[in-house]
């Protein structure tokens, strides 16, 4: 598979790999039957302006090199951002930051931004309970 340098970097040395203990939000997307499963955990705190920001974020991924690299990249993009900003990260943003993905991988393995959105949704749901 022909991957960009950036994809290989994030695949071989992924950032923020792991799971946050007692996370504020959890997002899981994908299905191992299809070959991809991603789990994103986040910790949320307020910044000086009183806005909710992603203080910490970690991922765990079952999947191909593209799945791992997009997971790693989305955590990098989300870290320190406000929830409103982080929610707006798209699949395309992730792919672009990775200097592109093979066309075949654009849909099936590019679920990381969805997992992040799920984690934020989960945080809000818990908060509003």
């Amino acid at each position: 598979m022909e991957y960009s340098k950036k994809v290989m970097e994030h695949f071989t040395k992924p950032k923020n790999m792991g799971e946050i203990k007692n996370p504020d939000g959890i997002g899981t997307v994908g299905n191992p039957v299809c070959g991809d499963l991603m789990k994103i955990t986040i910790k949320v705190s307020k910044n000086k302006k009183g806005k909710e920001v992603i203080k910490d974020v970690k991922f765990k991924t079952f999947g191909c090199a593209a799945a791992v690299a997009t997971s790693s990249m989305v955590t990098e993009l989300a870290k320190g951002k406000t929830l409103n900003e982080a929610e707006k990260i798209t699949r395309n943003d992730v792919a672009e930051s990775l200097e592109g993905l093979p066309p075949l991988k654009m849909h099936c393995s590019n679920l990381a931004s969805d997992a992040l959105k799920e984690a934020i949704k989960d945080y809000r749901k818990k908060k509003n309970k």
Partner: protein, 383 residues
């Protein structure tokens, strides 16, 4: 360090083969159909090669037809026999774990009105000769079952299947791309009517193969033209390729098989000893092809394993959907009853006579580390 463990995909052309081929590019470049000296020299090289290959499978020399490789030979066998025998019947029997070129030829034949039975296999990938016999009807014209599977190395009982076919007066074809020179083949004793073999899996060049067609088998050509290859396959013969193919056959040694078998068993044993939660795909022991190792590493995905190993200089292949253009997991592993997620985690390592124990030791270490690293990353792994 580069360690090549994808020899079921293709092999390195050996020195002897390359040397043998060289003169036929720019010195002995005649067309084997020409009557002059250059042509006759090409013809002589062609016929010598044909003899070598025929003898290697106990066939008549004129029953060997050279082709462009395994895919063409399999297409030729299936479509050629189907169209030449459609007065007799329209039913073909094959297995559900054949190479894509057999499966997709069958699918195409279905569109032309032929009926195909895809026989199931057991958990180790074996086709049952009894199933073959039960599937044969009055309309059956051909049975095609591979000699050994390319992904999992299961050696099929083709001698027994050959006997069933002969008894029922049905043609028997076998795809021997993976086994040729690795397992002795005798087309007489095994009752084989058509046999696919090729060159680049045995340290010969790419782009050349052959189809053995027993005298009297009714077959339509796919290629029409100048009537080359006993009017069965037109097109100027690829003399350098054919000469290289024959040299590859001549230089295959019994000791190569012993060497590969030893490395295979070492690799299987070490991986089983050192890595937990794995499934060996295919059987153990003498029913397994001498150069095939295929494991599913549970809770992780094959393309990731492949790419990580590649970073460390180890080249392997996977049955994961993520590595295929179709985004479908290996049809072979699914037919053997593997779950999708386990098929995704499969890695094939296929050896050649050139691999060393040193290399295999390195591969075991790197595989252990890679699997452990990826499992730490997997949400399905909870230890």
């Amino acid at each position: 360090m580069k360690i090549y463990l994808d020899n079921a995909a293709s092999t390195k052309v050996s020195k002897e083969v390359l040397e043998e081929m060289k003169p036929y590019f720019s010195k002995e470049y005649g067309n084997a159909s020409s009557l002059h000296d250059f042509g006759q020299r090409a013809k002589k090289a062609l016929e010598k090669s044909r003899r070598i290959i025929a003898e290697s499978i106990n066939a008549e020399t004129e029953d060997i037809v050279f082709t462009s490789g395994g895919t063409e030979s399999n297409n030729f066998a299936l479509k050629g026999v189907a169209f030449a025998n459609k007065e007799k019947g329209n039913h073909i029997i094959t297995s559900s774990i054949e190479h894509d070129c057999v499966i997709n030829s069958c699918r195409w034949l279905e569109k032309q009105g032929f009926k195909i039975t895809y026989l199931p296999v057991d958990k180790d990938g074996f086709v049952s000769p009894e199933d073959v016999e039960k599937a044969i009807t009055k309309k059956t014209i051909l049975v095609s079952v591979m000699h050994a599977n390319n992904e999992v190395g299961t050696i099929e009982p083709i001698k027994e299947i050959g006997r069933v076919c002969r008894k029922n007066n049905v043609y028997f074809h076998s795809d021997a791309c993976q086994t040729y020179t690795k397992i002795p083949i005798d087309v007489q004793e095994m009752n084989i009517d058509l046999l696919t073999i090729n060159s680049h899996k045995i340290h010969g060049p790419k782009g050349v193969g052959a189809l053995y067609i027993r005298k009297g088998v009714r077959i339509e050509p796919l290629m029409h033209g100048g009537g080359h290859e006993f009017k069965k396959r037109s097109g100027t013969e690829n003399i350098p390729g054919i000469v290289g193919f024959a040299k590859a056959v001549e230089t295959a040694k019994k000791s190569d098989i012993t060497h590969m078998t030893k490395l295979r068993d070492y690799l299987i044993n070490e991986i089983e000893k050192r890595i937990s939660e794995i499934i060996l795909n295919g059987p153990k022991g003498e029913k397994r092809l001498c150069n095939n190792v295929n494991f599913s590493y549970r809770f992780i995905e094959g393309e990731s394993i492949l790419m990580r190993l590649n970073e460390k200089g180890v080249m392997v292949s996977t049955g994961s959907a993520c590595s295929s253009n179709s985004l479908e997991a290996s049809h072979v592993l699914l037919a053997m009853g593997r779950k999708h997620e386990d098929a995704h985690g499969s890695i094939r390592m296929s050896l050649s006579r050139d691999n060393t124990l040193e290399e295999i030791k390195y591969v075991v270490n790197q595989t252990e580390k890679t699997v452990s690293d990826l499992r730490k990353m997997s949400p399905l792994w909870n230890r």
